[in-house]
């Protein structure tokens, strides 16, 4: 399936927005305006936006800590992200969540602190959808690093045993925290593990091609929605960013990073849009300026929002 012109531009805009959001986060950290460290997903935008595009608003997504890609993809808006990053009352978690963004109105079930613990929680939302007969799909998005967490195994087992509507979406960005994934992972590919549980799997060799990401994911999402059970999809990509904003780096070869910069998913999608005459370079530059303005406005909104009151500290602890 090919994207329509409108779809291409909407997806491109989201990818740009993710990149500009994370660049802004870096600037605000450097200037000391914000203190929350970033774990950016630079270079992985095609995966984050491509996997969320086939999901409906009411579908559940369990995100990763790596940047804002899938949050933007699922429909969270910049001002809600910045308000929470700034710890203000206008944040959806009223300054209690910070990095651990959630927006249940768009099915974003929040970032948990122990990556991989949400495998089981995601199987739980999928179980609930199935038991309630709502037709909702759950997606658990994770990286090659998290694929080695203990809950991966029982979650794949149960999702398959009970044929739950869930998609396991693995971004293999080749680095798990501060090491190449092959230093800590016994196999080159993650996805074939699914076969051990009787779960269909697929590898998207070019995870920097949003069309390829979208196509493979849409098939898995449709399968889940038809009640045919889980699928594991692995997307090969590359983490151009360091693990976190204080990461001194050095473990990713410079040549490797430069090589992957040439495969930047945003540049490639931009070239395709121009080549297919969906938009001109000028159009896309105008879009970029709009996106930058949207990010600036959202940051300003957060900066001007009130701090939470210390006396509200116990609010929302219990129902």
């Amino acid at each position: 399936m090919a994207f329509s012109a409108e779809e291409m531009l909407a997806l491109y805009r989201k990818m740009l927005l993710v990149r500009r959001m994370e660049e802004k986060h870096g600037e605000l950290l450097a200037s000391g305006d914000i203190w929350m460290m970033g774990h950016f997903g630079t270079g992985q935008e095609a995966v984050a936006i491509g996997i969320t595009a086939p999901l409906k608003k009411e579908d559940y997504l369990f995100p990763t800590h790596r940047g804002v890609g899938e949050f933007i993809g699922k429909g969270m808006v910049p001002k809600d992200i910045w308000a929470e990053y700034y710890g203000r009352t206008t944040g959806l978690a009223k300054g209690k969540g910070g990095l651990h963004l959630s927006d249940v109105r768009v099915g974003l079930m929040g970032l948990v602190g122990s990556l991989g613990a949400d495998f089981a929680v995601a199987v739980g939302t999928a179980l609930s959808s199935k038991m309630r007969g709502t037709g909702q799909v759950t997606m658990i998005y994770f990286g090659d690093g998290t694929s080695n967490q203990a809950d991966f195994h029982p979650s794949m087992n149960l999702a398959a045993l009970w044929q739950l509507p869930i998609v396991f979406a693995c971004a293999n960005n080749q680095y798990s925290e501060l090491a190449h994934y092959r230093e800590t992972t016994s196999t080159e590919h993650i996805a074939p593990r699914a076969a051990g549980y009787g779960v269909p799997w697929k590898i998207v060799e070019d995870g920097n091609d949003i069309q390829a990401v979208y196509a493979a994911t849409a098939e898995a999402v449709d399968r889940a929605r038809r009640g045919e059970g889980p699928t594991l999809v692995e997307y090969k990509t590359y983490r151009i960013a360091a693990h976190f904003t204080g990461d001194p780096g050095g473990y990713q070869p410079k040549e490797e990073i430069e090589e992957w910069k040439k495969k930047d998913p945003i540049d490639r999608f931009r070239a395709r849009i121009i080549e297919q005459k969906v938009a001109t370079a000028d159009d896309l530059e105008n879009m970029n300026r709009e996106v930058i303005a949207e990010v600036e406005d959202a940051v300003k909104y957060a900066q001007e929002s009130p701090w939470p009151a210390p006396e509200d500290i116990y609010q929302d602890l219990y129902a």
């Binding site: 613990a117 609930s128 309630r132 219990y318």
Partner: protein
């Protein structure tokens, strides 16, 4: 009033709440076809079927995670963990997710989750299967922790726990399942966070929970024959603690013994002692005495295991020292 066992009381609570609310469902290891390691779910698989009484793999962190996910989006899961000892495998789910997600999302999700599990020793099951770990959960803001001592309390508190929108750690005790007690007629719902005076007395207050309440009552009965009148307060809920009921009793008797089966260091008795001395200092005629299990991994040999668990005789000796 009918007399039933603690096990039957729990079973009635589950059945009644499942009949009342189709969103209530059960998950755990061998709780369906086999009807539970301790038969608490007897008859429920036959009545409600495999969709609502779900046998799970042996994977505690997964079962609790499933409970959390399904509770976040519309269901009311009641999880059975075979014993509290295996809850250690699910601690991240309980402490990091069940207890915190509601707060971290500023109320964006509810967490109507009940995790049932028995604790305690006395069956020669040795160090890793005989622990009393309620305090680990009672330490965590965001959780409610309930530990009933009688069939009526077990039924009334389990029904309330299932209806509550917070995560409830519901602690049972191996040695209580066959104990019997009277059950009031009609719908039985008991509030979480309310202690109960199980025996009225004048000379000393014995504060306890779960099976140790039965030990305290046995001690009080013997003490009465020796001219000492002991009041027994059952905490029933460990988080939040009903300080008022405890303190009112101690203000009346002026002496307190705090009894728990678990290790007392940093334990429930430590917490109770702290607030009693704070709120009733001027009423105390003697230091508060604490009694707990021996601070060792539970040994196997029958006589040594018995010595490691507080008994009525331990309590009687402590009370006599206090009132002497």
């Amino acid at each position: 009033m009918p007399v039933i066992t603690y096990r039957e009381a729990l079973n009635q609570a589950l059945r009644e709440e499942m009949q009342r609310d189709s969103n209530v469902f059960l998950m755990g290891e061998d709780i369906g076809l086999f009807e539970g390691a301790y038969k608490v779910t007897a008859g429920l698989f036959a009545e409600f079927g495999e969709k609502r009484v779900r046998d799970t793999p042996i994977a505690e962190e997964e079962i609790v995670g499933l409970g959390i996910g399904s509770a976040m989006v519309g269901l009311r899961p009641v999880i059975e963990i075979m014993t509290i000892n295996f809850s250690l495998l699910a601690l991240d789910q309980i402490v990091n997710n069940a207890a915190k997600l509601r707060y971290m999302f500023a109320g964006g999700v509810q967490m109507p989750l009940v995790i049932r599990m028995p604790e305690g020793g006395g069956n020669q099951l040795t160090a890793q299967h005989s622990q009393s770990l309620a305090v680990w959960f009672a330490h965590v803001p965001g959780l409610l922790v309930v530990a009933p001592s009688s069939p009526a309390d077990a039924k009334g508190l389990l029904k309330t726990s299932i209806r509550d929108n917070n995560p409830v750690i519901f602690i049972e005790h191996f040695a209580l399942y066959n104990t019997r007690g009277e059950l009031p007629d009609g719908e039985l719902l008991l509030p979480i966070g309310k202690a109960d005076v199980k025996r009225v007395g004048e000379d000393v207050t014995i504060i306890s929970h779960s099976r140790m309440v039965q030990v305290a009552l046995a001690a009080a009965e013997q003490l009465a024959g020796q001219g000492i009148s002991a009041e027994v307060v059952d905490l029933r809920t460990l988080r939040p603690l009903d300080k008022e009921t405890v303190v009112n009793s101690v203000r009346k008797t002026s002496r307190a013994v705090v009894l728990e089966e678990g290790w007392p260091t940093y334990g429930i008795s430590a917490e109770v002692t702290a607030f009693v001395q704070d709120m009733a200092f001027d009423y105390l005629d003697a230091p508060i005495r604490r009694i707990g299990g021996a601070e060792v991994p539970m040994p196997y040999a029958r006589n040594v295991e018995r010595a490691a668990i507080p008994s009525d005789q331990t309590v009687i000796a402590a009370v006599k020292e206090l009132v002497a």
